[in-house]
Symmetry: C2
Subunit: 349 residues, 2 copies
């Protein structure tokens, strides 16, 4: 969000950091405050609670004229579930605040809740409270999700050490490809006529990945139990942005091997039809909701073996470097370039 | 909130109840879900957590053109703190989601947080997380507040029994009088010229009560420890509306003694200048944030003695009756009339 003080825009991260500095106080039970995927409090011996809150605004994060309420609800739930997955926690309770304009029918509001709760029910999350209000302009949705781990058994953004290897679950870039396909349906067809053709199954896979993403809670639970990783974050702003967040919080740099970034065959085909570099979709594409995590080299073998046994796809895509190295990416020709600053822009359809 | 399905408006309480029926599932740890001042979960042996969420919408709950951001923040915090006070819990953690239009300066956003946090700091509440976003139209604020009690030591709306006496802390109607004074400053002066005159100290007291209300957390903590009350709710929608909520959840009726309703001398003077019945301000005036609670007759004496010792004002204003009695109020002439249905309308300045 760009908020202006006089004429100077204040980017969202700067605002959050300023609020944190100004208003946060350290209290003994607070394990982690503002700055991670979720806040963590140690409220009882042996248990950590993880709390995350997300705001969705019509016209910024979604457009009711083009997106189905069910899909908006589903994706809102997954965004929060993914924050809990990145803490390697188990999601438990949900509170929803909703402000709706008078013209929105109760039927559409129920559809939105249906989408939300269908994503939550998969993981045993209970809706325990909320608030509703009229809105003068647009739909606003605020979700608070609460998860838990045993004490000392969460992963944070700040745990990565120099030498750790960088891993990611699944494949990246699919959600952005799916979004572009949804936005440019007509255009895509004309490109197809000119030559490279996108298979229907690939198109459906990408669009589905955008509309019904998966929070990597099973992978998070495994990482929690295996105790092989040192830091984690979910890829919601794009690989480029989220790797940057992880490095900033860990006070390290990173070397990303572009050739290793996992791209699905559907995303690769799509990139071909659009004459794009598929890895660019991964770097700047948000809402993939994969987990990005770091693993010390002695534990790599165990991690990869366990992943195979469990049927989880994990890929090593780079190495944590000292902070002075900054964050660079190695192309196919071996040259190192700085990682682009651009981060994912929210869904503006 | 009135949400339309076809042409049928759905009032806020009906919508919340419908969502509760459709989407809530009972889970063992959930002590209380949607329907009370806060949801309650038993998160660890011996501890209950209380979670409440509130949504504030520009143009519905406040108007940035006439209210100072600091006061909006302060009152938002008190509304949530009061929900926790009504559960006789101790507030602990706060999460804030804020969507702001681009034209709102960072300075005004900080003022809003300043107001919020100054109310919270009084009670040792920590800001632990949140989310910020741009808004296309208007400021939206969603607050989640988390409090705690020992297990089994909370009060709910549903605990009142026939024969229990109805008590209220402090005085009622002041906040609505303060709001009316703020809204009709000019008009009031002309009335004053005509005759009855409101003292400046009274005016200031009422306006201050509206702009800087107090959450009755100390009284809540006392009620928790004293274990003399059977049910509680905070007066945020007006005595009439909140007594109705308590009775509905407890499945009882009530007889309210209008002559006993505590009215401050400032509110009484104001009502005189405006030729209003002061008790009407108490019945429909919201945002007083006093506690309304019920006490079995054998415990009345102990309650009143303890209140005096601690310097808390408590007043017995009626008796819980069987449900078939419905909710009636007894006037000075002894006649019983049904309590008015009208509830407090949110601040629309």
């Amino acid at each position: 969000v760009a908020l202006r003080q006089a004429d100077h825009p204040i980017p969202e991260f700067a605002l959050i950091r300023a609020i944190d500095r100004r208003f946060s106080r350290r209290v003994p039970q607070l394990v982690r405050g503002i700055g991670d995927d979720a806040a963590v409090v140690a409220i009882s011996p042996g248990t950590w609670w993880h709390l995350t809150t997300d705001l969705l605004v019509e016209g910024i994060h979604f457009d009711l004229n083009t997106a189905a309420p069910e899909s908006i609800g589903y994706r809102a739930a997954v965004a929060n579930l993914s924050d809990i997955a990145a803490m390697v926690a188990v999601p438990r309770y949900l509170l929803i605040s909703l402000a709706a304009p008078k013209c929105l029918t109760a039927a559409r509001i129920y559809q939105l809740y249906d989408g939300l709760m269908s994503a939550c029910r998969l993981h045993g999350v209970s809706l325990i409270g909320g608030d509703t209000s009229e809105s003068k302009a647009g739909l606003f949705l605020s979700i608070t999700l609460i998860g838990m781990t045993k004490a000392q058994q969460a992963l944070f953004r700040h745990g990565a050490h120099v030498g750790d290897r960088i891993y990611v679950t699944g494949t990246l870039g699919d959600s952005l490809a799916g979004l572009q396909l949804l936005m440019q349906g007509r255009e895509t067809r004309s490109v197809q006529r000119q030559g490279a053709r996108l298979r229907r199954s690939h198109r459906d896979a990408l669009v589905n990945r955008h509309l019904h993403p998966t929070a990597r809670l099973a992978e998070g639970l495994w990482l929690n139990r295996a105790r092989l990783a040192t830091a984690a974050i979910d890829v919601s702003d794009g690989l480029s942005g989220d790797l940057r967040h992880l490095c900033e919080e860990s006070r390290v740099g990173a070397e990303l091997d572009l050739d290793k970034v996992p791209i699905s065959s559907a995303c690769r085909s799509y990139a071909e039809t659009r004459r794009l570099e598929p890895v660019q979709l991964a770097l700047k594409g948000g809402e993939d909701y994969e987990l990005l995590f770091t693993v010390p080299p002695p534990k790599q073998q165990a991690l990869e073996r366990q992943a195979r046994t469990r049927g989880f796809r994990v890929t090593c895509i780079g190495t944590i470097r000292p902070r002075r190295f900054s964050i660079r990416m190695k192309g196919g020709d071996g040259t190192l370039r700085p990682i682009p600053l651009t981060s994912y822009e929210h869904f503006r359809r």
